[in-house]
């Protein structure tokens, strides 16, 4: 997997993406609209100021509860390059992989919006050079990297209808 370099955009803990990044509570509003207002209630202007290639840095349990897949589609429209958080809701984690959005479990408490961040998910290394932070975490499993590299589960299956997935236990 490529190393991802971007600017950090910071969010808090226990963020429910159904509430803050989906149309579940905004019926009739589409993904393009939500991409303009996502996370605004937590951080006013968050989506508007978001630049393609920025990295979301969040607190624990990002994407908790019955996380909708739409959240990932919205983040793709926003241009989210990766997400770094100490832990993710399991459904969100799965949805991100299935839809080709890299994410890694790493606690980066203390960094600020705009800090340059480098995520090497294959090696399990997150670097914030200006703050002398180099964190080593478990890398994403090889099979998960295969799905992400293909751009998600469905693109993967179009390339490998036989599920020939590198790194899966046989």
């Amino acid at each position: 997997m490529n190393i991802i370099k971007g600017s950090a955009r910071v969010l808090g803990e226990e963020i429910n993406t159904d509430i803050h990044c989906s149309s579940k509570y905004l019926p009739g509003k589409d993904t393009a609209y939500i991409a303009q207002v996502a996370f605004d209630q937590l951080s006013p202007g968050f989506a508007k100021a978001f630049k393609k290639g920025d990295v979301i840095v969040a607190g624990k349990n990002f994407g908790i509860n019955s996380s909708r897949e739409q959240a990932i589609h919205i983040m793709h429209v926003m241009g989210v390059a990766a997400i770094v958080a100490p832990s993710f809701g399991r459904q969100f984690f799965r949805n991100a992989i299935n839809n080709g959005l890299p994410l890694i479990e790493c606690d980066l408490a203390g960094i600020s919006a705009g800090d340059a961040i480098e995520v090497d998910a294959a090696a399990g290394r997150v670097t914030v050079a200006t703050r002398n932070i180099i964190k080593v975490v478990p890398p994403l499993p090889a099979a998960v990297q295969s799905l992400l590299e293909a751009g998600g589960l469905i693109p993967f299956l179009q390339l490998h209808p036989d599920w020939n997935i590198k790194g899966a236990a046989a």
Binding site: I64, G89, Q91, N95, I154, L157, A169
Partner: protein
């Protein structure tokens, strides 16, 4: 080294031998489910995959049920239109379909005999952990996953580590599996079992009827659990047989299986529990908060809308009236439960007491049908599974969560009430 139930079921479905926690496996899925709140997403995906391909087929689609339960009955034209798309899809591909009023996915799948012990089942709903009550690995996924299953019959999984929870002793009359899951939420916190499987074991589980066991597995979703597995016993086999399921392939954990955590709960001494407003892990014993007034009482959902829940409520409210100013709605989890409750005269009892009965569906949980909204400052006591601020449509109301027994006893008195202190609160089906 020994293996957990999760390691065995996922491994058997992937490579024919037990897997190890942490492994990624590609496993054969026995049955899948998609409901009307997620169908739009999945059906679009399928359309995209098949676009322009003459020989496009979904070889495994007959093992995917479509369930019209969240918008049951549909409150707006978008939902009504989604329902039409789902019916047309089911007609075209031959998938089983459960229509409006048939019931909630987690109730109609087992009632329909669609899986058995040892199976691997996925559904587009976090409470798909319910199937663990029948010794099947059930887990929540999304539309992309079910699309992949319809297409290939397989799905990838990370094999979860397991927390073993031993329940010591049968619950007292008036105390239910919900009080156990709330205890667990108080102990571990919401998402406290994120990425993990749970295995419930011990005499407390053995003593439970199937309805209560389903609550145990269902409400594990609030702990963040990926699955919540019970061992199978004679009660499981009899229930599955009565519902036409295939021959069970029960799976037990090895004595030397490796667990990340062991928890013991003295279920014989457990008092009823409630989660206070907004936070499912803000859990206290009912006796500690019995002066809390309530104005709305709800019984329903995939967590506690089953026949035993309605029987218990009727036992408490038989010949009585709801407290002044309290309104109550009972929503059975399925049409089969609705019919059984009607035949047993339970709706006559509840209606005479002042409650209303609604068509089977998910409305009680998330006010999707618009019938369950509370006024500002009102306090709802509900047998549902979640109580986020505004979950029932009004952020200025409160939702408290308890068992159906606690909800019915509270509806009777107008304040949070320990069912053990009211007549009929000791009802339990004969084992």
């Amino acid at each position: 080294m020994g293996h957990t139930i999760a390691e065995k079921i996922l491994g058997q479905h992937a490579h024919g031998k037990p897997a190890m926690a942490g492994e990624i496996v590609v496993a054969d899925v026995d049955f899948s489910m998609i409901h009307d709140a997620r169908a739009g997403n999945a059906l679009k995906m399928i359309e995209k995959l098949g676009a322009g391909k003459k020989d496009f087929r979904l070889p495994h689609v007959k093992r995917t049920a479509l369930v019209l339960d969240h918008y049951s009955p549909p409150p707006n034209m978008e939902a009504a239109n989604t329902h039409v798309e789902m019916r047309e899809f089911a007609d075209r591909h031959g998938s089983p379909l459960y229509d409006v009023g048939d019931g909630i996915c987690h109730q109609v799948l087992p009632e329909g005999g669609h899986f058995t012990c040892g199976d691997l089942v996925v559904g587009t709903d976090t409470h798909s952990t319910t199937y663990g009550a029948f010794n099947a690995f059930g887990t929540g996924v999304e539309g992309t996953d079910v699309s992949a299953v319809m297409l290939t019959g397989k799905l990838w999984f990370r094999v979860p580590e397991t927390i073993r929870i031993e329940l010591n002793g049968a619950l007292q009359p008036g105390v239910w599996a919900k009080d156990v899951t709330l205890t667990m939420l108080g102990k571990l916190g919401a998402e406290g079992a994120n990425y993990r499987a749970l295995e419930y074991t011990g005499s407390g589980v053995t003593a439970m009827a199937i309805d209560d066991r389903m609550t145990l597995s269902n409400h594990a979703a609030e702990l963040g659990a990926k699955a919540a597995l019970l061992e199978a016993d004679e009660k499981t086999f009899a229930w599955l047989k009565a519902h036409g399921a295939a021959t069970p392939k029960p799976v037990q954990a090895d004595a030397d299986a490796k667990y990340v955590q062991h928890i013991v709960i003295d279920t014989a001494q457990l008092p009823p529990q409630v989660a206070r407003q907004h936070h499912i892990d803000d859990v206290v014993g009912v006796p500690e908060v019995s002066n809390q007034k309530i104005q709305v009482a709800l019984i329903g959902t995939c967590t506690n809308g089953r026949l035993d829940d309605i029987r218990q409520a009727a036992a408490i409210l038989k010949g009585k009236k709801l407290a002044k100013g309290v309104r109550m709605i009972v929503t059975p989890a399925s049409r089969a439960i609705y019919l059984a409750a009607m035949r047993e005269g339970l709706f006559e009892i509840l209606t005479a007491a002042g409650a209303s009965v609604e068509a089977a569906g998910c409305g009680t949980c998330v006010n999707i049908t618009g019938h369950y909204i509370a006024a500002d400052k009102q306090v709802v006591i509900s047998s549902a599974n979640r109580n986020f601020k505004g979950r029932l449509g009004n952020p200025n109301s409160e939702i408290w969560i308890g068992s159906a027994a606690t909800v019915a006893a509270s509806a009777l008195t107008g304040q949070v009430t320990d069912a053990r202190t009211v007549a009929g609160g000791d009802w339990r089906a004969a084992a």
